[in-house]
């Protein structure tokens, strides 16, 4: 009986973990190309959930159209934040660490703005769930029961990751983005529009967070404070991957999702709050370069 609960816990950990992985990827691609840690990532995810709710409930759209609505809305949010705020701060020139602090503070400001705006809508007053992504009887794997919707959630998450991988690996823009994150100056010398690329990264990262929001909103009831909890797990997932590896984010997300469920199963559901901190500290003490990277990478001057 206990092993069944264990397998069930692992399975549902993989499902939530794939959503944490999406948000972790969103945060890491922003970090790799701009060195900014996006503390507003959780609130972007939460905004994605509420945008979908708006599309589904207020505009009566079907789910596919709601996804489109979220993608467009989040893209606009991401590029306007980068172009309107971050570019102004970074454009003031080099002030060492202070510029970085200012950029991070701006993302904290963004998180509060998004939370504040969402609170003004009447359906955020109580926790609400999006309608099911997919209905139907649960599927059996041996004795483990899985909801069909959960399979769809993992499926969409994996599809988005594969598309992202293909984009970075095979398209010209994707390769240019990788070049920008490796060496911005050399990239601009060979004619890559570095500033426009950074804006695009923020747009893309916002879309990823928004999609993650729709997926998790279909599974759990959401409040405006929900983002803070999820982003913590995604930070931990990203640190497991060394904060620079996208496969590391996926591994970290799944590990975190499973760990969270096992902690809930064997200790208490309240102890889930310390899991990210314990994981982050353990990784930083034992293997600060992350589980996947071979050696520690120091930043170039």
């Amino acid at each position: 009986m206990l092993t069944l609960a264990l397998f069930q816990g692992i399975a549902s950990g993989v499902i939530t973990g794939s959503v944490y992985a999406l948000l972790a990827i969103s945060i890491v691609i922003v970090f790799k190309s701009t060195e900014v840690v996006n503390f507003g990532g959780g609130e972007m995810l939460m905004s994605g959930t509420y945008l979908a709710m708006m599309a589904l409930v207020a505009f009566d759209m079907p789910y596919v159209a709601a996804f489109g609505f979220v993608v467009v809305g989040m893209f606009v949010l991401g590029i306007s934040f980068e172009a309107g705020i971050l570019r102004v701060i970074a454009g003031r020139g080099r002030h060492g660490q202070l510029t970085l602090v200012a950029l991070v503070v701006a993302t904290v400001g963004l998180s509060y703005i998004l939370k504040g705006v969402m609170r003004l809508f009447s359906y955020t007053e109580q926790a609400r769930r999006l309608p099911s992504l997919f209905r139907g009887p649960p599927v059996e794997f041996g004795q483990v029961l899985l909801q069909r919707q959960d399979l769809v959630i993992v499926g969409i998450a994996v599809l988005v990751m594969l598309l992202l991988f293909a984009f970075f690996q095979f398209t010209f823009t994707g390769k240019a983005l990788r070049a920008v994150s490796q060496n911005p100056r050399a990239s601009s010398l060979v004619g890559i529009p570095v500033k426009r690329m950074r804006t695009a990264v923020w747009g893309g990262a916002s879309i990823l967070a928004g999609i993650a929001g729709v997926l998790i909103g279909a599974k759990f009831p959401v409040t405006p404070d929900f983002g803070g909890t999820v982003v913590l797990l995604s930070f931990a997932a990203a640190i497991i991957g060394g904060f620079n590896s996208l496969p590391g984010c996926v591994l970290g997300g799944v590990l975190l999702g499973v760990a969270q469920n096992l902690v809930g199963l064997y200790f208490s559901s309240a102890a889930i709050a310390v899991t990210p901190f314990v994981v982050i500290m353990a990784v930083l003490i034992i293997r600060p370069e992350g589980l996947l990277s071979g050696r520690s990478v120091l930043r170039k001057v």
Binding site: F31, E35, V37, F39, I85, V88, I89, R92, H95, G96, Q97, L98, L100, V101, A102, V104, V105, A106, V108, G109, L110, S111, Y112, I113, L114, K115, G116, V117, R119, L120, G228, T229, L232, F235, A236, I239, F243, A270, A271, A273, V274, P276, F277, V278, I280, M281, L284, I285, P288, E289, S296, R299, V301
Partner: protein, 317 residues
Amino acid sequence: MFGSPPLRHQIVLLVLVAIGFALPPFVPEYYLFLLNSLMVWAALALGLDLLMGWSGQFAFAHMAFFGVGCYGTVILTKQLDLPFLLAMPGGALIAAVVGFLVAIPSTRLRSIYLALATFAFAEGARFVFNSWTGLTGGPDGLRIPTMTIAGWKMTSDRQVFPVLAIILAMLLFATQQIVRSRFGREMSAVRDSEHVAMASGIDVRRVKVLAFTVSALYSGIAGGMYALINSFINAQQFGMDGAVLALSMVVVGGMGSIPGVLIGVVLIGLLPVVLQTKLRSMQLWQELIYGVMLTLSVTFMPRGIWGAVTGALRGRR
């Protein structure tokens, strides 16, 4: 900028202490309560600014260290029956030790790991406050016993006011000394360029760990001060909203300058009080207001109000 601070700065501190003793009989209790809370916020914000404005590091955990200092002070008073003058430094010391332990692994690889680890620490600390029922009272919270200072029972804001004024004056004095010391110059060097600092023979990691520990110590002291003006604490009081409030004070007032931080503390600290009288649905709007304020000031007023004012004065001359 460096060397021992000019005499007029010391006089300001003496004036602060003098006000602490002279003001209470003439001011209504409610205003003293407001001033007391502003002094607590000032201690917290000064510590945060040492880390952010002077050494260029970002961290989220100051509300948690504030909580550790506060719970520490109260528990030492309650369980060991210590007087405030021993309990408060004890609580602050615990906060500093915890800060030190968090900082050591977090400063090993990337400078941003400190921010991430402290962000997670803030959540974890709240969980501990909430669930270590035997020590912290758990969700029910903890009643704070009457504190005693040199035989005096601290029962009203009127009595507490001079005590807080003395502590704040001492913290201001310490801050002036720190930023002008060798360590202060090392912090500024790390802030302006880690590589140049490293090349000049500064142990960058030691500076970061020390700056974070000192900053946690300030937060712990602020927590002890908070125990003096409250009669009840629970985990709710040490959440993320307080951290963002302290962050706004430092950023809006002006990072890396003592007058700037104090201006920020007064403005941001009084804002909720003023808004509550004008705006009924303050609770609904406050996150949006703080978010907009924080983002706009960091974007268009990089050195805060103090930086904008001094810049304008210098420009006119």
